[in-house]
Amino acid sequence: MPEVKILEEVCKGCGLCCDDVCPVDILILSPDTINSSGYHPTVVTDMKKCIGCGYCYMICPEPAIEVYK
């Protein structure tokens, strides 16, 4: 089962991965967390659904996302 890891401190909360990029729609910007640069990083809402397509990684400018399988 694939797994996505968000590097919380690297993420700038741009939200590019959260929009319509993830085919199973499991990424959102965390409303509560705030990292030390002041950004709300992405969080995974339901890891089980991840299909490991890597689209989120692909669009992440930092990259703050790793995908494992």
């Binding site: 700038k12 030390s36 640069s37 002041g38």
Partner: protein, 177 residues
């Protein structure tokens, strides 16, 4: 007497506006003033800060390295700017957003619930005005009325409600001490 002020925080917290209003107020009260934004144009990200000088003498350099008055609006700026303050300086900090505590003993620490008060007034954005209010009172540097005038010079396109809200925030800050 020369007052050297730094205001620091995140972009979006009205750092630049606060600085300009302070300088403007100083000008209205016929002091020598200057405002200087931090270099940022060829740097992306990070925090924002600006320098304001209000003085009875012509301003030498508008860049303040060691302020005698410091306003800190967010967590990262606390760590960065606390060490720079002059001994016996005034250190205003936004207690609502900042978890850590300043540690220096040779400066006067003034915690302010700036965002909490601003939210109370209905708009987090006016936290900076709360800060200017208390600064004016604590330092005696500027009249409250002057700050009210000055913010009107800055926000020339704001509506009446907003201007009045700003006034209220200034007043609340001024009344804190």
């Amino acid at each position: 007497m020369t007052n050297e002020i730094i205001i620091a925080g995140f972009g979006g917290q009205g750092i630049v506006s606060s600085g300009i209003i302070l300088a403007h107020a100083g000008m209205i009260e016929d002091k020598y003033v200057s405002f200087f934004p931090s270099y940022g144009a060829e740097m992306r990200g990070g925090t924002a800060n600006c320098s304001v000088v209000i003085s009875s003498d012509p301003v030498a350099s508008p860049i303040v390295a060691n302020p005698n008055i410091m306003i800190v609006m967010n967590e990262p700026s606390l760590a960065r700017f606390e060490p720079t303050v002059q001994p016996n300086g005034l250190f205003f900090f936004n207690q609502t957003l900042i978890k850590s505590k300043p540690t220096r003993k040779d400066i006067t620490i003034i915690p302010v619930e700036a965002n909490a008060i601003a939210e109370e007034l209905g708009q987090g954005r006016v936290a900076n005005m709360v800060m200017l209010g208390i600064l004016a009172k604590k330092t005696g540097l500027l009249k409250l009325e002057t700050l009210k005038k000055a913010q009107r010079k800055r926000f020339t396109k704001a509506n009446k409600e907003q201007l009045e809200l700003n006034d209220k925030a200034l007043e609340r800050g001024y009344a804190l001490l």
